[in-house]
Symmetry: C2
Subunit: 578 residues, 2 copies
């Protein structure tokens, strides 16, 4: 037996296996995941595992290594989040999200830091040795909402898209603020005296860290898109580039002390559109599937390790400090959301309702990022107190808030995500409004959201697409081709059902081959997911409009409005046009 | 700048990126890969990289770590090879393959070892300090044909299936022999005296190592199949189990000093059938794609590292020893193939032609396994000579043999792989013969290949499928359902082309929903790849038979034998039957 030779890969594989089997286990009992969020169950499994290890070895179980977390477990989750980010709601609410992420996080850091310092001044609590700077440092790590925890809970409760993107976007973008403030306070703790220059440098660093991360991400994203232009002959390694470049963007950003999370999100969002157009459909399925699989496994491991790491002798218990930390986290977040939303609502037509505000405040879950940051703290005599407080805050938010948020969403009747896809009418309407508003902004000289969007789209189609896409000659009138295809499809269905009573003219038979070719071309050039989507929408809605709008209905009798009738109608129209 | 923090993942990602970009680079020039095998190009890239590193640092570039090779780079390739192994030709030729792999490898080891020892006795060569045991040890590592190198070359030259499986199967199954002989001679080298007991123990070990590996693999494979029964609600982690269980089987086998390669091949071949039936189509695409991608990257990295590791100061040059090693490798392999094939041909109806024998002998490429084994040798004063000889043999076989084998295959007009899939007639014929031969063997009391295959199939359908498959209620008359489906499809096409002159009876319209449901069921329960295959075969061949066989043709006029006519014919037949 030669265990030590295979130890590293064997144990990693076993941990992943445990995580996957735990996931299967939960889903075997359908009722369990609908009551308790999976994250809670996984932490619970971790706690049991940790208890067993502690009981057997009589020493603390291994703590999740911060390096492993930041280098291997976090990137897949953030990549997945960035790649599947709904870009429209994200950019529509980018101002609000940034306000929450930047101002909100700073507000929370200083609020929690200063008020905990106040608590430390009470002599009865025996906390007078915790300095203001240490409290602020603790505030900076405990203030940040965690994207992993937020995703795990919000994906299960299906709130409306705007609310989801506000909480989730904030949790992603606050990374830059957290990184800067955490590093700032940590270096302040080690400095003998702080000059005002240092404080200003810190503020400047924030922009460098955030924007630098985005820039690194976009650079790698564009390079990835450019690389996939040349993979036509070796389809099999296409998916690799998506993962390699985004991971490189994350590592490069981390290397330069920039925000890795923002880099990988920017990389994923930037490359998605071009990569999807370049790679084959099967490669794309693999990319999507593997990304989901990987992030799911990472998330599972993180929560299990959170549970395992909780057990042990790393904690120093101090009731007042820990209780007040939980209370201040709740209070300052609630206050912050209230104040910031007040300003947001003054400048927006689509206001954030008070129910939404409550969910935003209540959804501020803390998770593995805080946990890893607290272990990265330099050693000082109160570190174990901070670890204990962080653990309690994470467990409180994930268990109490995570488990009660679903009933609360039900109770408050918070607006849910709409189940159906938008209709063609809505889509056309939205497109039309975009163009209209861009035009209005252009004429009035107001450089607003729509103006920039229009300019960006122009830049994209004029330059970026030509450089980054392999096949640029996309047919302009794809909607016409699509209509032809649908019409033909319905004719087939009609014929299959035996409703076709007359033979079409011979030329259409001869044309058959040609149309099949254009179809193939259409499918190759159009993004296939979009095509499927459009097709489904058209299939569902073209008839709905006919059915509801009387103008379209006038030449059919009321009794004929079955699907068959519609299909026949199309054929008649088509023959007229021939 | 904090490089050291991200160094490990960053450098790994960069190496993979380099490998992938090199692959893209070759394929940009279409002519290059058709002349020079990719493996040669990659080694060449590696040589250049190694030269640059050597030139810049003035010290030997890093050598491929044997642990990295055996634990991380080899398993994906062998997994891919096992998963996509064509099982029918493999099991049909299993006797011949085992003969080549076991007897042939032992023959080569001792042949090369003893004749090199003879060379060492020549005083002029100054090699008298290399003992017989060391020569045999060297023989054991240089004799084994390498699956990675064989795959890389044989996948490009498209020889016939039997020839391919003979060389490739041998390269996979000789692992057990290589492992045993290598470890045996290595331990003999360190022993003061060798008893005859040790030799017999070594022979016994061979069976334990080989069969133990297969047993470990099958156990994990069955567990994997069983696990995927329960993944219906979390499709996203299904692909993971395929990779986790097969990797675990490899690591477990390695841990117990069994043959890891045989374990992972057995695991992949065992689980494939059941896993495919259990997991969703998208999961399966991901599994297949990712396996191909991973093995492709591993292979690329191995060849690049082979090139990089060649440069440096690890070599001790001795012309006679190195030249005779290459010559003996060639001679003993050719002799072994000739002698073994003589015996094989006496017992088989399908003889191996002399052309095939030449390609089998010439296709005995050596690769990274020899290279890793030679670095794993215990330190002794002639290790550098062995490293040099191994490197030369690998480069000789990969470059000279790898580059000339394609022209030779063309020149000798070796039977190629048939491009088209077997016809339905052939398939039915093969099936029928299988059953017939199983029956004959059963009656005559001869427990041959077909008897065991039949028994295994019975055991599979009686027990294994019930335990391992989620949905066991597969419709028995799937061919009938398939025929119905095809018939309907043709009716549709006919109707679309406007050739359908009469309306079918009303009941068939009402039945439409039912048949659609059975179709869906059919698609769900039947293996979808098989279904597609059958469909294609039927679509292509049903008509071919009609066209060529006059008996089927009698009630149509010669002029009518266009596709349209056939479709109409089917419809007429169907209406008659109703």
């Amino acid at each position: 037996l030669d265990y030590q030779h295979v130890q590293v890969p064997f144990e990693i594989t076993l941990w992943i296996m445990l995580a996957s089997l735990a996931k299967i286990g939960f889903h075997l009992y359908n009722k369990l995941p609908s009551v308790v969020p999976e994250s809670c169950l996984l932490i619970f499994v971790g706690l049991i595992m940790g208890g067993i290890i502690y009981g057997l070895n009589d020493k603390s179980p291994p703590v999740m290594d911060s390096d492993i977390f930041f280098l291997y477990l976090l990137p897949p989750i953030v990549l997945d989040a960035g790649y599947f980010m709904p870009s429209r709601p994200f950019f529509e609410n980018i101002g609000t999200i940034l306000l929450y992420a930047v101002v909100g996080t700073i507000w929370n850091v200083f609020g929690i830091g200063f008020s905990l310092y106040g608590i430390c001044q009470v002599k009865a609590f025996r906390l007078q040795d915790v300095s203001l700077l240490h409290n602020l440092l603790f505030g900076s790590l405990i203030a940040a909402v965690d994207p992993v925890a937020v995703l795990a809970v919000f994906e299960e409760i299906h709130v409306n898209e705007k609310l989801h993107i506000l909480v989730f976007g904030e949790s992603l973008l606050n990374d830059a603020v957290t990184v800067v403030l955490y590093k700032l306070f940590r270096s302040f703790c080690e400095m003998p005296a702080i000059k005002s220059v240092d404080v200003f440098a810190g503020v400047g660093t924030f922009f460098v860290v955030g924007l630098g991360g985005v820039l690194v991400g976009l650079t790698f994203g564009m390079t990835a898109a450019f690389t996939t232009r040349f993979t036509k002959d070796i389809r099999v390694i296409e998916p690799l580039f998506v993962f390699l470049y985004s991971y490189l963007s994350y590592l490069t950003a981390e290397m330069f002390h920039l925000s890795g999370i923002m880099a990988i999100v920017a990389c994923a969002m930037g490359m998605k559109r071009y990569v999807e157009a370049n790679i084959s459909l099967k490669s794309h399925t693999t990319v999507k599937y593997f990304m989901k699989m990987w992030s799911s496994v990472s998330e599972t491991l993180i929560f299990i390790f959170l549970g395992v790491s909780t057990i042990g002798e790393n904690h120093e218990w101090n009731w007042p400090y820990i209780c007040f930390t939980v209370i201040f986290c709740l209070i300052w977040r609630a206050l912050g959301v209230l104040v910031l939303t007040f300003f947001v609502n003054r400048f927006h037509v689509n206001t954030i309702t008070s129910k939404d505000q409550f969910i935003i405040a209540y959804g501020g879950l803390r998770g593995a990022i805080c946990f890893s940051l607290v272990f990265l703290l330099p050693d000082f005599h109160r570190k174990k107190l901070f670890i204990a407080a962080t653990t309690v805050v994470i467990l409180f938010t994930v268990f109490i808030q995570g488990m009660t948020i679903r009933p609360l969403v039900d109770l408050l009747a918070v607006k849910r995500k709409r189940e159906s896809a938008p209709t063609v009418g809505e889509q056309i309407h939205i497109r039309f409004l975009d163009h209209l508003l861009a035009g209005i902004e252009d004429i009035s000289g107001h450089w607003g959201q729509y103006y920039w969007k229009d300019k960006l789209e122009y830049f994209n189609s004029k330059y970026l697409q030509k450089i980054l896409l392999r096949e640029y000659d996309q047919p302009k009138s794809s909607i016409v081709l699509l209509y032809e295809k649908l019409e033909r499809k319905h004719a087939i269905e009609l014929a299959e059902a035996g409703q076709l009573g007359h033979a079409p003219s011979h030329p259409s038979l001869l044309n058959n081959d040609r149309t099949v070719i254009t179809d193939k071309k259409l499918e190759d050039t159009l993004d296939l997911d979009v095509l499927e989507n459009i097709q489904e929408i058209l299939a569902r809605n073209l008839y709905r409009i006919r059915r509801t709008g009387p103008a379209y209905n006038r030449h059919t009798l009321p009794g004929e409005t079955e699907p068959m009738g519609h299909a026949k109608e199309i054929l008649i129209l088509r023959h007229k046009s021939l």
